[in-house]
Homo-oligomer: 157 residues x 2
DNA sequence: TTAGTTGCAAAGGCTTTGCACGCGC
DNA sequence: GCGCGTGCAAAGCCTTTGCAACTAA
């Protein structure tokens, strides 16, 4: 483990929390670690993984941690629809977007464009102060497309 | 009202339903009418407006109608986050996007760009078959910005 | 010490489901 | 008449809230 006075790497979880003005606690370090390891995990999945490392952490505590870290800008919340659970990823501030499979729920990162971000400028902002943009491409992933094609063929095309 | 054998305008609700293979019922016509009139209405708001016209329609029936019309491509569902209620608009197939005020929830239409749609092509589609794109600009509308500025000034800048 | 965090339990809000009745076609 | 739609009630799911106990700083 890194000691408390190790060099500031900028990606050290301990340091990230302190810089955000948040206290360093085991659940928070665990959540940061889990999300970094398993990108796009859902709350429930994160809670399970955290419990595997720390023993017992309540689901509500995980919700609290996720909200605190998201508010602090350390994590980014990805919504895939009003009905489904939120997913989280580490916030890289790289304006990347997402690709969602409507059949299996698989979520992939997409760089909308390299370097610049053209879609971040609406043609008419109605006077709004724009702070963020969420872009979600909906479709079907290769695996599901194959599976669907096979099922259709089996039914007699 | 238009008679059952009037000219096919393409926007006649009665005709739209039949073309989609759906039965023409009073609740469906009312929902189509309400959504066309009040763009971006939430389910609850739509249900209330429909009840004002037809007398009594259950909320669940409205959910059913909205789902059927959305599946049929007549309506478009706009998600503004996992926690908030869905909003609906008539589906114009014009690939327009949305602007959401995080303070008051106001939602505005935005034409991402005129004519073409550059953001509809991700740099790397991971083999996905892309069917739709949701773009949501998050920010603060003019009214809320002014209100927030006034409150801050009152607190002693 | 002291204020930010976690634990636990419960409620809250939007949405879906199941089955019987009714109506469009 | 047949089958899709609607009515009604209830449950389901993710998430938030309230308050006491704890611990990082």
């Amino acid at each position: 483990m890194t000691s408390s006075h190790g060099p500031v790497t900028g990606t050290d979880p301990h340091e990230q929390l302190r810089r955000a003005g948040l206290r360093v606690t085991a659940p928070r370090l665990a959540v940061l670690d889990v999300v970094a390891e398993r990108q796009h995990a859902e709350t429930d999945e994160i809670a399970t993984a955290v419990r595997e490392r720390l023993g017992s952490v309540s689901t509500q505590a995980v919700y609290g941690v996720l909200q605190a870290l998201t508010d602090a800008g350390l994590l980014r919340r990805v919504s895939t629809g009003s009905r489904s659970a939120s997913r989280y990823e580490v916030h890289h501030h790289d304006n990347h977007h997402h690709l969602l499979c409507r059949m299996c729920g698989r979520l992939e990162d997409v760089a909308c464009v390299v370097g610049e971000a053209p879609c971040l400028e609406p043609s008419d902002d109605h006077g709004f102060t724009i702070e963020a943009v969420d872009v979600l491409f909906r479709g079907v992933c290769p695996s599901c497309r194959e599976r669907a094609a096979a099922a259709e063929h089996r039914a007699g095309s």
